[in-house]
Symmetry: C2
Subunit: 475 residues, 2 copies
């Protein structure tokens, strides 16, 4: 039987342990970040596997049980568990991902993306924040408990994915086939950036979904001379530009038929909460380097548009000549990668199909257009009255000394919607990264303070949730 | 004194010489084509120089005098002359260019672009038709005269350029500074594709001009996460697509203010002549591989649009992620190479400036747009009643056995307008290539029959023009 005083003492001991071992932890973190686990690049498959093995070795070393690498149709999924806190204690499923975004353009990094740079109280490296850093924090928080108390204050399961950055392809099948390894009262996902840059922690209660396509417009059988054929051969790059330009209207809205049909509008309460969030537009502009914020969808504030409204983006476009000087051709084809961020209750599978059908329907008869669905993920929302939210708020305040604010996240974490849909499992989004941390961009970084105080917050969170009864934690 | 009978005998001897030496000529042509004289690529500068030296050695070998490589601000210009036909005999300036287009995409060539393939009565190589092949034909026609008659039947000057494919940057300065080396009664340019694919020769009487830009739209300081920033950071690729799409309207017309102000419309006679040109749209579609011809500018036929109306083309577009799978970024920038083909009497310098100003004016305040002028050239037209046209028609009929047709060319040869504007020198466009010859594209080819009968035509042309008095040849 653990008394309340015991619990406080044990938590304090675990936090103290983290402080003492900080230098060792950063050295280990450096080692983990050096593994280039880029899931989008088949040439990196062995590295993704190596990252999985690194994690499993760590889990085993700190006494977490059943640590297993599950092969999937894509990259491996890792599960592990420690279930000795007793039948009344809550069981929490911790989700993070160990794969990272591609690092290009590599020449824009101050140091190579997989050679971590510790500077200015930050660590710069691909994956520092998204999401190897947050995964690493969970490993160390568990280690602190296991080393100082010889146990965890609740039952924990770990669920680490290697395909998050490429759309979590195998996740739904895995959840179906291994529901027994994922059974829990609540899920904690640490893969968000709800911290503001002045150090106020955030609790995310919503995530955007995503749908992502590649569209290719083909015209002549090969590049042709723009003098000989200009005026007669429709130019696939001209056509693609027109098609893509037509996907948004003058009000900043996506023109694909039915796109907004299922969008759940912000409530008056949410809009009021958004209005009170600390946000300095000049600082935001400086952080991004843009000369001005986008007008965007009419009728919504910048902050609302950044997380609670859907978007349309060209993520890449290419075709024809891009070398030095001039080449006077009509290119044989032009292509683009495009995506939309989705909000509750848009259905990503429905949107995937309607965009594809729309693009095919607007392509003129002078070209052939092919649209490939690359990946998708559902948006998600956690009820603000979920019983797990007060413990999360207390744990973040204990770790950081500041009460957290609530907001939706603009990004996407497909597993959140999948766990809800398939297992009825709600998720608490406990993220430790800053939105200015260059996720998916050169010079990605994570604050060392957020790592330090975030690990302490996780130690507190397990104590907070461990003090609850399992039944009380279910929404 | 050469009698008419002598002239016929001498022409026949020169033509016979060409037939006898054909195998040697093709071997020499192979050697010339192997020099990768790509003017757009600074890494090929030495090869462009080497091509110039190859030509000068040839000119000297066959007894043409004063063969000189003139350095310029870009690639060298070659001049040479043979002026011993007497003061009453006409002087003709022959212009061709020895630089070639870049060869990419190299993997679409059946054989590497600078390893000529002789097959199916064609030679495939970069430059085979545009324009090293046509330049080579002039060298061999002169050689045939010099070898068999010991002289040419008229005064000839040669003017060979190394920058035609990159906009003929130094040409105007050169014409100003070396007018004495270019003085002539008429200019013959062999750099066009007015042959139809069934073997009917063509005489071009018009050329389109060109203006070419690179436009770059920049937004955030680096690529940013499309989830975190989507809806707030305007996407430079979205913006570029919208800007480029807006440059043409639903009627297929360019929207840049003032763009059509100086366009000289086709006369009723020209439209009637266009209507009688042999043209098989199904064959044209098969040649290009397009599923359908472009609607294009309303009110004009396909053939008119292909050579007598201006165009707008995206020649290349690039920005963001184009690798495998998905990368969910808003790219920091996106860029395009764009160009318009111009028709008489559009002023390419005026259009260069008005496009630049227009693009800068339509860029939204969320991005910065920069527009660089890459190159330009004026359109040109030769009066159909020029006294040099009947001799050209007779020479082509003598060489090919078929009377030529008259049409404008869709391409651009900047020197033609420059010689007219600066020296008052009119040009006869005597081209030997087929429009289906993959100029500027992979697997460029030239017909061996057109080389063979074209060289004979040039031999005849010098006899035809040599029989005229210089004064009668000036327009």
């Amino acid at each position: 039987m653990t008394t309340e005083t015991d619990a406080v003492r044990m938590t304090d001991a675990a936090v103290a342990h983290l402080r003492e071992r900080e230098a060792d932890h950063l050295a280990q973190f450096d080692e983990f970040l050096r593994i280039p686990s880029v899931s989008a690049d088949p040439a990196r498959n062995a590295d993704v596997q190596r990252a999985a093995e690194w994690i499993v070795a760590e889990l085993e070393r700190l006494g977490i049980e059943q640590a297993t690498i599950h092969p999937t149709s894509a990259h491996p999924i890792i599960t592990a568990e420690w279930l000795h806190a007793g039948p009344d204690a809550p069981t929490v499923l911790v989700y993070c991902h160990y794969d990272v975004q591609p690092s290009d353009p590599d020449d824009e990094w101050v140091r190579p993306p997989f050679e971590p740079r510790f500077e200015d109280e930050r660590v710069y490296a691909r994956g520092a924040g998204d999401d190897k850093g947050q995964l690493f924090m969970h490993l160390k928080a568990a280690e602190a408990w296991m080393t100082t108390a010889g146990r965890l204050p609740l039952n924990l399961r770990f669920f680490f994915e290697g395909d998050e950055e490429v759309g979590s392809g195998p996740i739904e099948t895995f959840i179906d086939e291994h529901a027994d390894l994922l059974r829990a009262d609540v899920c904690v996902v640490s893969d968000s950036d709800t911290f503001d840059d002045h150090g106020t922690p955030g609790i995310g209660y919503g995530l955007r979904g995503i749908a992502y396509w590649e569209v290719r417009v083909s015209g002549p059988a090969h590049d042709v001379h723009s003098g000989q054929y200009g005026g007669g051969v429709d130019n696939p790059a001209n056509v693609l530009a027109r098609m893509l330009a037509s996907l948004t209207d003058a009000d900043g809205r996506v023109t694909v038929p039915g796109f907004y049909d299922r969008v759940r509008d912000l409530t008056a309460e949410e809009r009021a909460a958004y209005a009170t969030l600390p946000f300095d537009e000049a600082e935001w502009r400086a952080e991004t380097g843009v000369p001005a914020a986008m007008d965007g969808e009419r009728g919504y504030t910048l902050q609302e548009r950044l997380s609670a409204r859907p978007t349309f983006d060209i993520n890449g476009i290419w075709g024809g000549y891009s070398g030095a000087g001039a080449k006077t051709i009509i290119p044989a084809w032009a292509a683009a990668k495009i995506s939309t961020r989705l909000v509750p209750d848009q259905d990503f599978r429905e949107i995937e199909q309607s965009m594809k059908a729309h693009l095919e329907s607007i392509a003129p008869p002078t070209v052939t257009a092919s649209v490939q669905i690359i990946h998708g993920g559902a948006p998600a929302i956690t009820p603000l009255d979920h019983p797990g939210i007060p413990p999360v708020a207390r744990a973040l305040e204990a770790g950081f000394g500041t009460a957290p604010l609530f907001q939706r996240s603009g990004g996407s974490v497909p597993v959140v919607a999948a766990l809800d849909a398939q297992l009825g499992l709600k998720t608490l989004m406990v993220g430790f990264a800053n939105p200015s941390g260059n996720f998916h961009a050169p010079n990605e970084w994570m604050s060392l303070r957020n790592i330090r105080d975030g690990m302490a917050s996780i130690v507190h969170l397990w104590a907070e949730l461990g003090a609850m009864k399992a039944d009380d934690l279910r929404a």
